[in-house]
């Protein structure tokens, strides 16, 4: 296989393993909302309503489900402050920072792909 950029993909014999890994990663990160949500919370902790404003087009029901999924996978944390009224703030966990390289690569790729589709490249 050609090596176009700096990183090499696993060889053919490791294909099944790499495929399983990518599949497992996508099982956790699937859908169009989860990674943008994690990125958004890595910038700063936010309340439910703030997230809904920032992530355009997500419904409250889907947002609630996505947040639960992310919490189950140790990527975000739900903090409840016993004020009156109770204040609930979501924040990215230290573990979510393991996604930083993926997010940086996706951001880079998304920008390039948008330009490609627009015919600018």
């Amino acid at each position: 296989m050609e090596t176009i950029e700096n990183k090499t993909l696993p060889g053919r014999e490791e294909c099944a393993g790499a495929l399983k890994n990518v599949f497992d990663a996508m099982y956790v990160l699937n859908g169009k909302w989860k990674l943008p949500l994690v990125l958004c919370l890595m910038q700063s902790p936010k309340r439910f309503n703030e997230l809904q404003k920032e992530i355009k087009g997500i419904s409250p029901k889907v947002l609630a489900n996505e947040l639960k999924d992310l919490e189950l996978n140790f990527l975000i944390q739900r903090n409840v402050y016993p004020t009156t009224p109770v204040r609930i703030v979501y924040e990215a966990t230290a573990y979510s920072h393991t996604l930083k390289n993926i997010l940086a690569e996706l951001s880079h790729w998304g920008e390039n792909h948008r330009n490609k589709v627009k015919g600018k490249i």
Copy 2:
């Protein structure tokens, strides 16, 4: 924001841009099948039936749709050879190699996350 690993995420003022980029990337790559499919075809060109065997659990209808989506986004190519019977082979395009870093990062993360969930880390 803390910098835990070697790559830094965009600052807060660039948040909206990065969010849009990741969102655009996930719009193209969403779902659990597309990235594993691209990885599978990067290893070697394959026929429809071979793909169905390799990507466990995908239905023929979903596989056909995913292949069409990937073709529209320049990530794979559908080659028709005028033999009898006609032979159709899917292969990863040169452009799909721009996903290599993302796939390598996802493979790495997927493996670690699987171990974390199993309580090995």
